[in-house]
Symmetry: C2
Subunit: 237 residues, 2 copies
């Protein structure tokens, strides 16, 4: 469908930074989100999965819609660039230089679980920290920032972390993820109290060994309770 | 743009029921949300406002995107119906019987503030309670139900009511709105405690007059504090 594409913001967490999966476009000095035009015969959600798989090799992601990007002149600055992408078919080059609206999707994944692969149109497919982004094509910077904003807002009504954290983790590690999403430091005691109150964590016993009394507790998500909170929300009502 | 339309779920509250603004299509026995195809030269958000104004007469709504509806066969059941809408131009009839994706928007309005007007393609434009809906065209029933679901979820992280309640209202009136959105009864004391804790209401003194000690307090929203909560959220963090 010429007028509508989708772009996926795929976010991961390596224990230190929140990272986005980006492709380096061939021929031009821009990076981009994995995306493409919607195939006519597929449901939008199916089409997005096919695009992401074709462009990065990733399968079975939980991709969520978050917003459309529909400014009439969103590709205006790069029309000439886009028309000259020789890797693309003539049809794709025409479409990409005309007006098109894009559906923004995002997914959270464990970085270690996936092995991204660049496609024909890209030199590389890499995890890049979201606070050290290279120049992105068209309005992909805005799309990525908006996805981060949605994620930040979700902290208010959904538990977050199951798809990002290793199976077992310490409280400071989880706090670091929240701080990364919120872009601010949180009080340690306050964070621990609020997270425990959600009742979605299982605490493991500390290993008994010399000096182990100083080791932090390890936690893991109680998947059943976690998913209940995903369904019901954690907020006001 | 042939492949992309927008539909608006415009919700109001009359003190008793949550109602949606719907149009009765001419020639067919279906009602529909105000919507239409996106004009090529306008930003998506601008185009939606133009569509809603043209179809219902309503202006200056705060329309929010909530989801796109992109099933490949979403109009399959009604293709013949749609093709025979003689009020539409040939172009529109062709587009509407081909595949198109729609952007779902919603707005909350005070019913008394607006005077809806039907357009050329509709017999009537009316407020209809969302639990007494007539048959709706294409997937408009799904779009409307999904908007209600989003609104329900928003109760978890945003204050709600400023655009729906009269200027002054009682606590039971506000509770009735929440119950309508949540489709469940709430405990009175619990509701009052939680709402007051949000610190977004101004309480007025009771009028002093005979028997007035039984009158309920009147409240109004503290717009400044309300808008702060809209910005920051009311939830976990």
């Amino acid at each position: 469908m010429p007028g509508i594409s989708a772009d996926a913001v795929i976010l991961g967490y390596d224990g230190k930074d929140i990272k986005a999966l980006l492709l380096k476009a061939k021929e031009v000095d821009y990076w981009m989100l994995p995306g493409g035009f919607i195939e006519k015969e597929f449901d939008l959600n199916t089409a997005v999965h096919r695009i992401v798989k074709a462009r990065t090799g990733l399968e079975q992601l939980y991709l969520q819609q978050f917003q459309f990007f529909g400014k009439a002149d969103r590709n205006a600055h790069q029309k000439e660039h886009l028309k000259s992408l020789h890797q693309l078919s003539l049809k794709a080059r025409t479409w990409i230089s005309q007006r098109f609206i894009t559906a923004g999707y995002f997914a959270l994944v464990k970085i270690d679980d996936v092995l991204p692969k660049a496609d024909l149109f890209s030199d590389r497919c890499e995890w890049i920290p979201v606070d050290q982004l290279p120049p992105l094509i068209i309005d992909h910077h805005e799309i990525l920032q908006t996805a981060l904003l949605y994620l930040r807002r979700q902290l208010n009504y959904l538990p977050i972390g199951l798809n990002l954290m290793p199976e077992k983790f310490t409280m400071p590690q989880l706090q670091n993820l929240y701080e990364g999403i919120m872009k601010q430091k949180l009080d340690r005691g306050n964070f621990q109290r609020k997270i425990l109150k959600l009742d979605i964590l299982i605490r493991h016993e500390k290993l008994k060994s010399g000096g182990a009394h100083k080791a932090p507790y390890l936690y893991q998500f109680d998947v059943e309770k976690y998913n209940e909170k995903v369904k019901d929300g954690i907020g006001f009502v």
